[in-house]
Amino acid sequence: MFRIPCPHCGPRNRTEFRHIGERGSRPDPRATTPEEWRGYLYGQRNASDWTAETWYHVAGCRKFVTMDRHTLTNEIRPAAGSTATVTDDGTPR
């Protein structure tokens, strides 16, 4: 069971978290078309690759956590563009 490095709690079992979804950009609801909006609602990249995701630490600090996860190996690394790093034992810095 893989672990997710929570920025507040350290590396915790996956079962403490709820998967929210791929991080995508939400179109402006005032300016969007049905096709674009529904593309955002229903379309995900769904790649077998590094994926930008959000998880919710439901059985812990109740923070929403962002990261990149490889959907085939379940390896995790800090979200692209973030300043967070992870030490060898999985503790975020």
């Binding site: 079962t15 998967h19 593309g39 229903y42 379309g43 769904n46 790649a47 959907t71 379940n74």
Partner: protein, 417 residues
């Protein structure tokens, strides 16, 4: 090419003479072009190929699979067949599949071992019971045998079930569907493959599609690890990897791929004759004629392409199974595995044409793909052969998402089995 028919007499003859049976399917070199290329040699791809040949006389067909045939979802599912769905379109669609399955052994001359022992979906609260009633009523209107039964009847069908009021989640009733049951999934794959091969279809195992050639908005062919193939029609039947394959043609799908795990025990004397599903407890169980218990639950709650099993799956599963049948604690789990499920927003498949001309989809099969193999093959073959989308699959089109026309099957796929 003369192909020996399977039969008890044939078994006798071969047994006496010790003659070898003929090969079930042949190996071929890859031709430079075909009329139709089907990507994915699972039950959907093989059934589509079979019906193209059998119903429409189209035999210049290649079915390509990156691994051994039937090795994807078709070889990993728990082989439950039923038609007790929620929407009238769903019921009609899956019932057609049940009817095809009932005659499949005779049609393919291959025993697919369809055991229609009955299918029970338990309701542990009145919300579930209401949903079961909804399904029963829709089923009955469509002429499908489904009914709500009470605790006494459930106990009679499943003597090992705890139907007492002392259970943590007491059973209130169940949706009983007598024509439902289990089938030997490998036999279905092999039966379709053998029959398609006999009609001239080419099955190419260990042939991975690396690219799809699209020019001017239409498909021209595919590139594989064994060479390039030209084809005016390419059908995506790759459940579990359909987003990746569609991406090769530049088509984005509203799909999220999740592992679905299953486990099997060592054999014990047969004590369970129906398929039992509990939506509340998120588990289901059936027992094979060999005595093994086959279990499953819901998909893993996060997308992944990993087919490794997890410990927490078997832990949760075992806990819920023992809540239903407390006396089987000593039975041992022998192995667990996973397959990949392409989940759509409305728990219904995506079938038909795409914006890329000639590139067609038979995807989005979630946790209900195997039971639809025959009807999907039949309707996709009709679409490919005639160019017209059959009425039965019209509401499963890809365009429905952009147009806000989602199908309402979520209530029927609580655990998806």
């Amino acid at each position: 090419m003369a192909r020996a028919r399977y039969s008890a007499l044939g078994l006798l003859g071969h047994g006496l003479s010790q003659r070898r049976w003929s090969r079930v399917w042949r190996d071929h070199d890859l031709e430079p072009s075909y009329d139709v290329v089907i990507i994915g040699a699972g039950v959907h791809g093989l059934a589509t190929a079979y019906y193209l040949a059998a119903n429409h006389g189209i035999t210049n067909v290649a079915v390509l699979d990156s691994s051994y045939l039937g090795g994807g979802g078709s070889g990993r599912n728990t082989a439950i067949v039923r038609s007790n769905y929620l929407t009238p379109e769903g019921v009609r669609f899956y019932d057609r599949s049940v009817k095809l399955y009932e005659n499949l052994a005779a049609e393919l001359n291959f025993n697919v071992m369809f055991s229609q022992h009955g299918h029970l979906t338990l309701a542990h609260d009145d919300g579930s019971l209401r949903t079961m009633r909804w399904r029963a009523e829709v089923n009955k209107l469509e002429g499908i045998d489904s009914e709500i039964i009470g605790r006494d009847e459930i106990q009679r069908l499943v003597p090992f079930m705890d139907v007492s009021a002392e259970a943590r989640y007491p059973i209130l009733g169940a949706l009983y569907h007598p024509p439902g049951g289990t089938i030997r999934h490998d036999a279905v794959n092999w039966g379709y493959a053998r029959a398609a091969d006999a009609l001239g279809v080419q099955i190419h195992q260990n042939t991975e599609v690396l690219g799809i050639d699209v020019q001017d908005g239409r498909v021209r062919g595919v590139r594989t690890n064994r060479g390039d193939v030209a084809a005016p029609v390419v059908v995506n039947c790759t459940a579990g990897w359909s987003s990746l394959v569609a991406a090769l043609a530049g088509v984005r799908l509203p799909i999220s791929t999740h592992p679905l795990q299953a486990a099997v025990t060592e054999p014990v004397k047969v004590f369970l004759n129906t398929v039992v599903v509990s939506g509340t407890l998120h588990v289901y169980v059936s027992q094979t004629a060999r005595g093994e218990l086959v279990f499953g639950a819901s998909t893993d709650p996060y997308p992944s392409y990993s087919m490794r099993g997890s410990l927490e799956f078997t832990e949760e599963l075992a806990g819920h199974i023992l809540e239903l049948m407390p006396s089987i604690a000593r039975v041992r789990v022998l192995r667990q595995w996973a397959g990949l499920c392409d989940m759509t927003p409305d728990f219904s498949p995506i079938m038909g044409i795409t914006p890329v001309e000639g590139f067609m989809l038979d995807v989005g099969w979630g946790t209900y793909g195997f039971k639809a193999g025959p009807v999907a093959g039949e309707t996709m073959a009709e679409l490919v052969a005639t160019g017209k989308t059959p009425e039965m699959i019209a509401s499963f089109d890809l365009a429905r998402f952009a147009e806000g026309r989602l199908v309402g099957e979520k209530g029927a796929a609580a655990v998806g089995h």
